[in-house]
């Protein structure tokens, strides 16, 4: 069984999302920041009149202090609404074989473990499969303390 992945880069990570989940890739989109929002929420995008929340995957993976604030955005249809991920750079669509799949090693710790479903061993590098549901579940990352 072959499966196609839409790939992208966040920091040093080479990540992929099942291609059928990605609706479109936007470059240089204007992101309106939302004050008081959780830090992983980069802001809102006007996608042809629809307002889409943009989640910064770099922040999500805890990759701090990236120089250029990129604005390449992957738009996903998350069932009831559209959501999007801000990534550093979009890659190609690659086709992978199920046999090359492996669960993430137990030594992978922390939030990264929640965010990575597994990996496909490509010829030159490893493609990490993003766990979209967990990436969208901001959980404890609730931004500023509302009691203050």
């Amino acid at each position: 069984m072959a499966q196609q992945f839409c790939t992208f880069y966040v920091g040093d990570l080479f990540l992929g999302i099942e291609v059928e989940r990605v609706q479109e890739v936007l470059r240089d989109s204007d992101i309106t920041p939302v004050p008081t929002a959780p830090p992983s929420v980069r802001g809102l995008i006007n996608l042809r009149g629809q307002i889409v929340t943009a989640i910064d995957l770099g922040t999500r993976f805890g990759i701090a202090d990236r120089e250029d604030e990129s604005s390449t955005v992957l738009v996903l249809d998350a069932g009831s609404a559209l959501l999007s991920f801000v990534v550093d750079r979009a890659g190609d669509v690659v086709e992978v074989n199920d046999e090359s799949f492996e669960r993430p090693p137990d030594t992978l710790k922390g939030e990264a473990r929640r965010l990575i479903k597994g990996t496909y061993k490509l010829q030159k590098k490893l493609l990490l499969v993003l766990d979209v549901e967990n990436a969208l579940d901001l959980g404890a990352d609730t931004g500023r303390d509302k009691a203050s």
Binding site: T32, P35, I45, N46, R48, I51, T53, A81, K146
Partner: protein, 773 residues
């Protein structure tokens, strides 16, 4: 199969609509039992349902409607008199039909409920009347009708006998149907006339149905919603284009864009109109609802409605429905007294419940008024003390307004005995929350022993809101206009009171009252501008029960926007949604209440601070107002809010002109529409005024006002004075166009409600576009 489903869906939708109409008709019949037309309508509705369900093989439904139809047919022909028992059973029949329809809607089948008792009761009415009513009708047609009905009646029990179980509907139904249809032909007592009435009815139905079909189509609300969204987008795209073209030198392009602009606006309006429904779509349930309520409370209630055709957005209607029912329930349960009590107070036994709806600016005002006992302050206080809403020692100091505000508190219910209808713990606080969450407001007016009026004001549509755009750092934030009370700009020229510090809390003295301040940039955690205490923009906001000032970096513009929801990831933030502005940029819409909560100026647990809030509210009400006082021809006193007045002018009487039915005057470059107070608000005395007594002064005093962005002149007899008055002792206005009454300089003065007044004088005034400067 899907074709069949569609037919059934259509049948359900149509029947439910018809049933609502039936409820209303039956109740109105009880009052006016001789209205043949209404009988005819009811008969046709039931007949249609019966016919369709026969065709769709819903046997139980058919058996119920069949007896009902037969009984109704005889009522219509005057063979039976309508008694309350018959009405009750007919209403029960409608309920049964409704229950079965709901079953069909949910499961696709009729269910196993047994309605034979009801059928027997209906049959009973029919039979009794038939038995002791052998009046020989001289007209052949009459007896023909009777004959046509008789075989049907005969067919009915026979069918029942064959299939006593309602589950065997498939078989039973055709039997009834065939029997009913064919009987007159097979055993014709008077063959010539027997078919006539039936076909007459059918003709009637056909023509009326055809007429309706020509002008109406049923549209799925989702389609309209989608259309509405698209139009919203079109408006935004239009805005972008127009902004872009404003700088273009191409005049052709500019003129086409202008056309596009106006067409889009019109399209938007038209699409909005498709979503409009008259308020009668909820009101027509009310006569029945009230009748049942009144019966169960042992009260007598007459319901009166005014403005049934007032249009509202469908989503607003849906959202307001529950609250409206609650208010009616409240009035019947708590407001209107028992018949004996009413009689003892010299009132008619039947209480009057009056519903009124009308447009007012971009709002719809719905009033629910009963002529009951009014609010009992003693009982409210006793109850509030018991519920812990106020301390006993405080209660003596509460003003009337504060006491009345108590009934909107959570956990409050004055019903001395808990009834199964009003006392379910769902109080008026829920109604208020619901209304306020839609951007509306609710007011209460009560006259002890005379009446209680709830006045609900809600926006026409929820989709488009008017907002004020402000800045915090480089963020643009939209604040719903409904929450904005006023704007204050501190110029920093040393003449105004600066922002002051009260134990670390910034406050501003607004007309002698301390207004807590919240800095928007601080609350949003964005880059803060140097805060000067003398130079600031303060937006005074109404957050829940209290006001607070929001200090913003700049105030931009007010706009009409389409609200878009924020996703679930951004819930819990002090934003109610977002919108796309004309330039394609996104602006966040501030949730004023939540912001106040986060900033700590609005308290979450209302009950703890209720006394403080109430005293605030009282102070706010007692504030000094500046008024322009006018005298009428008979020295009657009126006053206009100074804030709404631009200028006071005197025009020569000869310069007034009449254009169509409007009185106008040239005013600078524009034509100013004039409204004659004397004509719009005539004296209420009975004798006609002597026309020669009219004053013929050389000049006419005119108060030039701005109402909702439009200018208008009020023609008065004499402009007397401008006064500052503490208007504590106010009473509600007793007629349209009058906001309230107050005693000013020892004279009862009517304070005018300009919007309502203009509406009275010229109903289309607010619909006309604002003149370009």
């Amino acid at each position: 199969m899907s074709g069949m489903d569609a037919i059934i869906a259509e049948f359900l939708a149509e029947s439910v609509e018809n049933l609502d109409q039936l409820d209303q008709d039956l109740v109105s019949l009880e009052k006016n039992p001789s209205d043949r037309e209404v009988y005819g309508r009811i008969f046709r509705t039931v007949h249609t349902i019966k016919g369709t369900c026969g065709f769709l093989a819903f046997g139980t439904l058919e058996s119920v409607t069949h007896v009902g139809e037969s009984l109704l047919g005889r009522l219509r022909d005057g063979e039976i008199e309508l008694t309350p028992e018959i009405t009750t059973d007919l209403l029960a029949m409608i309920d049964a039909v409704r229950a079965i329809l709901a079953k069909i809607d949910a499961t696709g089948a009729e269910g196993d409920e047994d309605y034979s008792a009801l059928v027997a009761r209906l049959q009973g009415h029919d039979d009794t009347a038939g038995g002791n009513n052998p009046k020989p009708k001289s007209v052949a047609k009459k007896s023909a009708k009777k004959a046509a009905l008789a075989p049907k009646k005969a067919a009915k029990p026979e069918a029942k006998g064959k299939n006593p179980s309602p589950t065997a509907k498939a078989k039973k139904k055709p039997a009834v149907k065939r029997a009913a249809k064919s009987a007159p032909e097979e055993e014709p007592p008077e063959p010539a006339g027997s078919d006539e009435p039936e076909s007459e009815n059918e003709d009637l139905e056909l023509t009326s149905a055809a007429a309706v079909a020509e002008t109406n189509i049923r549209v799925d609300v989702r389609v309209l919603d989608h259309l509405m969204n698209l139009v919203g987008e079109l408006v935004l795209a239009r805005n972008q284009l127009v902004q872009h073209l404003a700088t273009s030198p191409d005049s052709h392009l500019a003129s086409s864009s202008l056309r596009l602009d106006s067409i889009t606006s019109e399209l938007q309006e038209a699409v909005m109109r498709t979503r409009m429904q008259p308020i009668s779509s909820i009101w027509r349930k009310l006569p029945r609802f009230t009748r049942d309520l009144a019966l169960s409370f042992g009260k007598e209630v007459e319901i009166e409605m005014e403005g049934e055709d007032t249009d509202l957005d469908k989503s607003v209607i849906e959202a307001i429905k529950g609250s409206l029912l609650h208010l009616v329930r409240n009035s019947v349960d708590h407001g209107i007294e028992a018949p004996d009590v009413r009689e003892a107070h010299g009132k008619p036994r039947a209480g009057k419940l009056r519903l009124r709806a009308h447009h007012e600016g971009g709002y719809v005002v719905i009033e629910v008024r009963d002529d009951g006992s009014g609010l009992s302050h003693e009982r409210i206080i006793a109850r509030a003390v018991k519920a812990g809403l106020v301390a006993e020692e405080e209660s003596a100091d509460l003003s009337q307004a504060a006491i009345e505000a108590l009934i909107f508190q959570p956990g409050f219910s004055t019903a001395s005995k808990v009834t199964n209808i009003s006392g379910r713990g769902v109080g008026l606080d829920v109604v208020r929350n619901n209304v306020e969450s839609m951007g509306g407001s609710i007011e209460l007016q009560s006259e002890s022993g005379r009446s209680t009026t709830f006045r609900v004001k809600i926006p026409l549509t929820l989709a488009i809101v008017s907002v004020l755009l402000v800045r915090a750092d480089h963020h643009r934030i939209a604040i719903p206009q409904a929450s904005v009370v006023e704007l204050i700009r501190l110029q920093g020229n040393g003449e105004e009171t600066p922002i002051e510090d009260l134990g670390g809390v910034p406050v501003y003295r607004l007309r002698g009252k301390l207004l807590p301040l919240v800095f928007l940039d601080r609350e949003l955690g964005v880059h803060q501008e140097e805060s000067a205490t003398t130079k600031a923009n303060i937006v005074v906001l109404q957050g829940d029960d209290r006001q607070f000032g929001l200090v913003v970096a700049g105030v931009e513009d007010s706009q009409e926007i389409v609200v878009k929801p924020l996703g679930r990831l951004l819930s819990g933030l002090p934003f109610a949604g977002a919108t796309i502005l004309g330039d394609g940029q996104i602006a966040l819409i501030l949730d004023v209440f939540r912001l106040g909560l986060v900033a700590g100026v609005v308290s979450e647990s209302r009950t703890h601070t209720v006394a403080a809030q109430i005293s605030d509210a009282v102070k706010a009400r007692a504030k000094v107002e500046r008024l322009v006082c006018l005298h009428g021809e008979d020295d009657e006193r009126m006053a206009v809010d100074f804030d709404q007045v631009n200028r006071l002018e005197f025009f020569p009487r000869t310069s007034l002109e009449r254009v169509g039915n409007q009185l106008v005057v040239q005013y600078g470059d524009e034509i100013l529409q004039l409204i004659e107070l004397q004509k719009t608000l005539p004296e209420r005395r009975k004798e006609a005024r002597n026309p020669t007594a009219r004053s013929q002064d050389e000049t006419v005093p005119v108060i030039v006002c701005t109402v909702s962005g439009r200018r208008v002149g009020l023609v008065a007899h004499r402009i007397a004075d401008i006064i500052d008055e503490d208007l504590k002792a106010r009473r509600s206005g007793s007629r349209a166009g009058v906001r309230s009454c107050a005693v000013i300089r020892d004279r009862v003065t009517e304070i005018l409600d300009l919007e309502a007044l203009i509406q009275l004088a010229d109903p289309t005034f607010f619909e006309r576009p604002i003149d370009q400067e």
